[in-house]
Subunit: 131 residues, 4 copies
DNA sequence: GTGGTCTAGACCACA
DNA sequence: GTGGTCTAGACCACT
């Protein structure tokens, strides 16, 4: 379920956090659904439990999950408008990517077409799933 | 010319490589133009020459510049089609960003509007500058 | 009556103790009034009786309630002056909060305004209810 | 300099983070000043370096310091308006404290007097110290 | 020398 | 059984 690249430069805990975040964003992991227990996941991935916990803590700080000691970790329902800072980051990244695609020869119309396709594809499973 | 954020947790050589890449993309540094010599730039930025070297090596690996031993480093003219791999990466990143923006509550129409604005803004200075 | 946030990382028994304390402070639970029996409350909140017990014990230690073996737990009438230690703690906390609000950019006048508003709001139901 | 209570229920890393935060808020640690190195502090406090790092990481997440790998950790200049969420928390805490002080018999006028005294005392060293 | 990552293994509080 | 904390000790990247 979680494919990690142990040789990658990116730390394991970040890779894991990223994977989990994607599952949440794509609504594979539903709001308030319980995540795999730290120790269980550590066993499956043959990774130290501390590393898993670090990933979960990271996601908690970023507002994607919440952890209840003694109970488990759960998907946090999305709250529109909370992550203004994150949105600004995404804007900047978007800008960079578009500029580089232009530089590499992609025509503007082509870029818009692809994004529209992406938007309609995400419409079903994606989009905000609030309380 | 190159504003580096020494406070950032991103390594300096990566920041520098990114800045140079942007200048190339935005056509501020023209094809075959010579980049500042390592030692000169090191002096101006009060940064270790090794760090500059690392940034240039990074850019060479990614195909944005080329080095002529004994002469210096130069901007590599863009070659449409050669960077298919890079384009696929950009596609994936674009997909991720769009999906996350949707999750964070941005409306699809809003996303397209922003990209169009970005496209028209880059139209002047940006765009491919091939041989 | 007692709304607990099972998602919170704060232990349930602490949340419960806090809620009861607030009801006492706001004079909703009057002096010498009997608190809900442990088992009853456990049933209503669908929570382990041990957890309720722990909350009540906590409140007894802090001087907000008293227990009569075989009878139940009751609200302890406030005794001005006996809680000097608690008052000193509150002073310290108050100092910390005010300092941090200043640091975060809140103007002194604004702080006083908010506190006055808070004071007049609590004036009705709040205030000391001694013997 | 940092007095920790190893027997306290509060985790060491939180105690340490709190202490450092206070030094920053009271302007004892000035903006962009370097914090003690993780290993050095670990040695002085006879505490594991990982624990220190956890405290620093916590402070970084909350926006009070920034860490540059290979350089050190530094005090982050305050940015007014960034910490809206933290301010809301402080408001709630302030409300609770004021209410409890009333309950313990402190007169409203007395509360305001103390806060004003606190405000003028903090005026010198406290207050925001932005860029 | 700096912070960052990871492991192995132990202990605690909570439900 | 759960997450959380802490230690000891090793290795890496960056400057």
């Amino acid at each position: 379920m979680f494919e990690l690249d142990l040789r990658s430069r990116a730390p394991i805990y970040e890779q894991l956090a990223e994977k989990v975040k994607e599952l949440i964003i794509h609504n594979v992991l539903k709001p308030d659904q319980q995540l795999p227990a730290v120790r269980v996941l550590a066993g499956e991935l043959t990774i130290n439990p501390n590393t898993i916990q670090k990933a979960y803590r990271e996601l908690e700080n970023r507002g994607y999950i919440y952890s209840v000691p003694g109970k488990g970790s759960f998907v946090k329902p999305a709250e529109t408008g909370i992550n203004v800072i994150r949105l600004q980051d995404l804007e900047k990244e978007l800008e960079k990517i578009v500029t580089e695609m232009l530089y590499l020869g992609v025509r503007p119309q082509e870029i818009i077409t692809r994004i529209k396709r992406q938007l309609s594809k995400s419409a079903d499973k994606g989009g905000p799933h609030h309380d």
